[in-house]
Amino acid sequence: MRILIVEDDTLLGDGIRVGLSQQGYAADWVEDGSMAQAALLTNEYDAIILDLGLPKISGLELLKEIRKNGNNTPVIILTAQDGVEDRIAGLDTGADDYLTKPFDLEELTARLRAMIRRSGGRSSPVIQHGDIVVDPASHSVKNNGVVTDISPREFTILQLLLENQGLVMSRSRLEEGLYAWNDEVESNTVEVHIHHIRKKLGAKLIRTIRGVGYIVDK
């Protein structure tokens, strides 16, 4: 899961980035609106964490811009203002959720999970496919009721594919979910992870579309 953090405060922005990577997210952090716009043009994100009090372009303006461009990535607003008006303005502009500073890192990730889940059109907290049950909150996978040991990266790929059942996910899209900018991307890793997942959950789960990517059928 790749997350974009837009936060002008150095200490906080860095903190969120580190905190999210601890949880297995690939997190990119930018300090202002124009950098955020650039990041959104070049990468695909599963969610955006947006601070409202940004210099130059305010958080709300940026959000308006994002939505105007037809980008429906779920957005959670971070705000130092706890006034109801600010939250209403944020939600009305197109935010999916908000969090008032200071917040709990765990609450932030829980809300991110919920947002990503809803944006995938799913209301249940777990993803089910046949005998396989994936729980993003606990990062656990059950196959036929048996807990299967799975690495964080494998989990991310599995989740991405299951969230987008019936859609072909390109290799690069899956890579984006694995690595943030600072991370070193190793070649062939996606193939290696898919191979491991197939070994643990069965070869039929993920189909390879040659030259394009991978798909989990509906």
Partner: protein, 466 residues
């Protein structure tokens, strides 16, 4: 004297009314006495004339009948005016022949002539009492009549008339007192109403009193109260905005602190944990600084201003500030310099001026990259002393300059974790000293801030005050 308007009105008006009333009573007594006197005199004269007429008739007859030229002296009970006044014994008369034979007299009249005057009115003393005597004679001076009335009769008439004038006062005074009391109450009613309204207000309600409701005389008071209200409201609003700003500004550092603390808790290795904890310390330092700056700003109350304005040598103040801030410059290998000479006197609060300089120097060092330069200069141009702080930092673009004095404004892209309050403090201190601040580009390439003071010379002394 008590400050009750009602009581004061009573205390002033009642004695005044009573005094005027008594004075007019005395005047009317005096006038009445005059009138009564002249009226009674006329009556006395008429009585005398009547008596003379009667005596003439009787005596001439007697004189003609008897050869004796000495008619028997008679006394008559005087009860001429039976009912009321003048009372018995208050009127007396004598009938004389040739001014030497007393032929007839009232019982209360003496046997000697009452008055020595030949004709007209006289006031004499008979048996120790004052009497009014009227003397009248026939044209041939044979019969001589003296009629007299006790003067006390005059007085008692005047007194009784005056009494009738005064008596109502005794009843009217309490009524007057009541009306004064009532009238004052009625006048004060709007003020009372205003005070009731004020009592019922919530503490937060500082809306002005409707001045039109107060009596004209009380308007200066309500206007003053309203003025105070509006000042209080401004102060409260500023306070409220400040507190809310401060609370919001603290939320971000707190969020950062919490995040890094959580990272430290979840860290899988010591290095990661150490890094997160270092960030926590960094965050605490920043929050501490923010709180300190907030307190400094709160202490610079724009209403009270500075009480302790003295003659301050700016150069000496700058020396002390720079020596304290030098370690920051040394840490970043920044060259720091102070230009100018001692004896640049200004009228200022020494501590506040030090805070102002410290903030500016601190900012300059903070935003100047390593191996840079910061220069403080104190120059005199005519009557103006200019404190300028220049640095070799990135400077501030023209369009951003107006914003940097805003509270909590932080220049973008700096990795420095300022509170955003330093320049607000500088502005506040400058405002309180009526100083002019201008921003420009320094010859070192960075920002230059100039602050203009009015020079304060003391009879040519150039000795610094420390």
């Amino acid at each position: 004297m008590t400050s009750s308007i009602r009581r004061r009105a009573l205390f002033i008006i009642l004695p005044l009314v009573t005094g005027i009333w008594l004075l007019s009573a005395y005047i009317s007594y005096y006038n009445t006495k005059q009138t009564v006197s002249s009226f009674l005199d006329t009556q006395l004269a008429q009585n005398g004339q009547a008596l003379l007429a009667m005596s003439m008739h009787e005596l001439v007859e007697q004189l003609l009948l008897s050869e004796t030229k000495n008619p028997i002296a008679e006394t008559v009970e005087t009860s001429l005016w039976q009912d009321g006044y003048p009372q018995e014994n208050q009127i007396a008369f004598q009938v004389w022949l040739h001014n030497k034979t007393l032929t007839l007299r009232s019982k209360n009249a003496p046997e000697t002539q009452m008055s020595s005057i030949k004709k007209g009115f006289d006031t004499v003393s008979i048996f120790g009492n004052p009497w009014r005597v009227y003397t009248v004679s026939t044209t041939d001076k044979i019969i001589n009549i003296q009629v007299a009335m006790q003067i006390s009769a005059h007085n008692s008439i005047a007194k009784s008339i005056t009494e009738r004038v005064i008596t109502p006062l005794v009843f009217l005074l309490p009524i007057l007192a009541f009306f004064i009391w009532y009238g004052v109450n009625l006048t004060l009613l709007p003020i009372k109403q205003i005070s009731i309204d004020l009592n019922q207000r919530k503490t937060s309600d500082l809306s002005p009193i409707d001045e039109l409701r107060a009596p004209k005389e009380a308007r200066p008071l309500t206007a003053a109260v309203n003025r105070l209200f509006s000042q209080l409201k401004t102060a409260f609003d500023t306070e409220k905005r400040f507190t809310s700003d401060a609370a919001h500004e603290l939320r971000t550092p707190l969020a950062a602190l919490k995040t890094h603390a959580e990272i430290a808790l979840q860290a899988k290795d010591t290095a990661e944990q150490q890094k997160a904890l270092r960030h926590v310390v960094q965050g605490v330092n920043r929050a501490t600084r923010l709180v300190e700056q907030l307190l400094t700003l709160a202490r610079l109350d724009p209403d009270t201003g500075f009480t302790n304005i003295r003659r301050v040598d700016l150069f000496i103040a700058a020396e002390s500030v720079l020596s304290n801030e030098a370690h920051l410059a040394i840490d970043k290998n920044i060259e720091i310099g102070l230009g100018g000479t001692r004896g640049k006197f200004v009228a200022a609060n020494y501590d506040a001026i030090c805070v102002l300089m410290r903030n500016l120097v601190d900012n300059a060092i903070r935003y100047t990259p390593r191996d840079g330069e910061v220069e403080v200069n104190i120059d005199r141009r005519d009557n103006i002393i200019i404190l300028s702080i220049a640095d070799s930092g990135p400077g501030i673009p023209e369009e951003e300059r107006s914003k940097i004095f805003n509270r909590f404004y932080r220049s973008l892209g700096t990795k420095e974790s300022g509170s955003g309050l330093g320049l607000s403090i500088v502005t506040r201190i400058a405002d309180l000293h009526h100083l002019n601040i201008s921003l420009g580009t320094s010859r070192l390439g960075g920002l230059q801030i100039d602050i203009e003071f009015t020079a304060k010379d003391y009879e040519g002394t150039s000795e610094p005050v420390e």
